[in-house]
Amino acid sequence: MTHELRMVGALMRRGLNEILRVPGGAVPGVLAPTIFMLGLSAVFGRAAQLPGFDATDFRTFIVPVGMLQGAGFTGAATGVNLARDIEQGWFDRMLLAPAPRPVLLAGVVGSACLRSLLPATFLLAVAFALGVDWPGLLELALAAVLVMGLAAAMACWGVVIALRFRTQQAAPLMQMGSFVAVLFTTAYAPRELLSDWLRAIADVNPVTHVLEGVRQGFVGDVTWADTWPALVSVTGLVVVLGALAVRGMRRQGY
């Protein structure tokens, strides 16, 4: 068990090293959520004046979306990095290591969890500097857990796609998965203001609960009624997508 944990740790460190080794690859993923937050609030800020909008400030409303977008981008980047490792033959060498496939996956996904805190931290620093209210430590800790959980789920999605297509050219598919999952929710407006078709999608999209779980600290108070669906949803996503990723890993090299 100790040996396996050390292996997970080594793989996580390797994933984190990517940030320093290829900063050009990491910077867009770190900047993009903040750019979206700033851009969307500047462009659509007046939407907060609509009757039924439960936040007085659109920027505050959209900050949690940016945090989850960062998690999505990180997950997709994990898939792209794995696809690159497959193309360059490093993944085949990793498969020869005396470690169960789930351990290899845990290392890859674990690094995504930690990396997802980078865009979220940058986004929050900019948001607080621009006057978004401090939600509180407990609220931020809950948000961090949910962001890391979603990053893990999206990394599993990226791994599934990378193992299936075995090329970096599948990157748009990985990015599109996280894009749809995060934004086809109550991202832009409260449920009551969405059009019927988007409300129907948001209602069945588990990421809606995750978003509402992160948002509750920013818009209103944290309640157990909003927290448990978020935790159950993110756990469910990690379990389902993780199972698919493990299945994909087990099929490699045989």
Binding site: G24, A42, F44, R46, L198
Partner: protein, 255 residues
């Protein structure tokens, strides 16, 4: 010269058709954004000061086209950067063709792809209930501005590729596409934008390009916005082509 430009444009188009994974994001991402903006913010048409439109889709179509054309510019840049990385560009330089044709071929291909992009979004809009108020003349006006703008964005992409010389750097400008788009009135009426974006939008050519295309789609044919949009697109295209030719000369000097 003409044969070389056409030949290189044909090659660029053939390569694009062979690699749909590069072309698909040009329409898929703007389509998703269009759906999201319309589905999430359709009630914003009720805000005081919002121009009278039949639906938010009518208003947002021009934004989706502009976004798609900008991404087309990134794709054109990536294609040139891949040619540089793969060595094809060096073989082109050694061949007996006018050097300017190397730039113009890629730029022409971007213009042709722009026709497809504009047509796709107009058909998509019609399929989901939008109405092009300007009729056939309006469609031609949108096509005219879209194709000229798409050509210009292609030239900008080529210029960046010639300076950067690698595809990953060109790909890295993706977020910048959104920055320039957000500081324009492409997505929302200028009078409803927050400060200081509302002031910046007045100087952003993308505002005029998007509004030039929006006018015949959401309102009616009117010479003023059309000419402003066309002039902004043509001016931007002329500057972008000049910059890419300069970047090519710089690259040739270094070679």
């Amino acid at each position: 010269m003409k044969a070389a430009v056409l030949g290189l444009a044909r090659r660029a188009l053939r390569n694009s058709a062979r690699k749909p994974q590069f072309l698909a994001p040009l329409v898929i991402f703007p389509t998703l954004f269009l759906a999201l903006n319309v589905g999430g913010l359709e009630r914003t048409t009720e805000l005081p000061g919002f121009p009278r439109v039949d639906g938010f889709l009518d208003f947002q179509l021009a934004a989706a086209i502009t976004q798609s054309l900008l991404l087309g510019g990134v794709a054109a840049g990536i294609a040139v950067a891949l040619d540089i990385e793969g060595g094809f560009f060096d073989r082109l330089i050694a061949s007996p063709i006018p050097r300017v044709a190397i730039v113009l071929g890629s730029v022409l291909a971007a213009g042709v792809i722009a026709v497809v992009q504009v047509a796709y979004f107009l058909v998509l809009g019609l399929a989901f209930g939008a109405e092009i108020k300007g009729g056939v003349v309006g469609v031609l006006a949108v096509l005219a501005i879209g194709v000229v703008a798409g050509t210009g964005f292609g030239a900008l992409g080529v210029m960046i590729a010639l300076r950067a010389r690698n595809a990953s750097t060109v790909q890295g400008i993706f977020p910048i596409v959104f920055v320039v788009l957000f500081v324009s009135s492409a997505f929302f009426p200028e009078n409803l934008l927050s400060s200081p974006v509302d002031s910046l939008a007045a100087y952003n050519p993308l505002s005029y390009i998007a509004e030039g295309m929006r006018q015949p789609i959401a309102f009616a044919n009117e010479a003023g916005p059309f000419l402003e949009g066309l002039a902004a697109a043509a001016g931007m295209t002329a500057v972008a082509i000049a910059l890419s030719v300069m970047a090519l000369r710089g690259r040739l000097r270094d070679a």
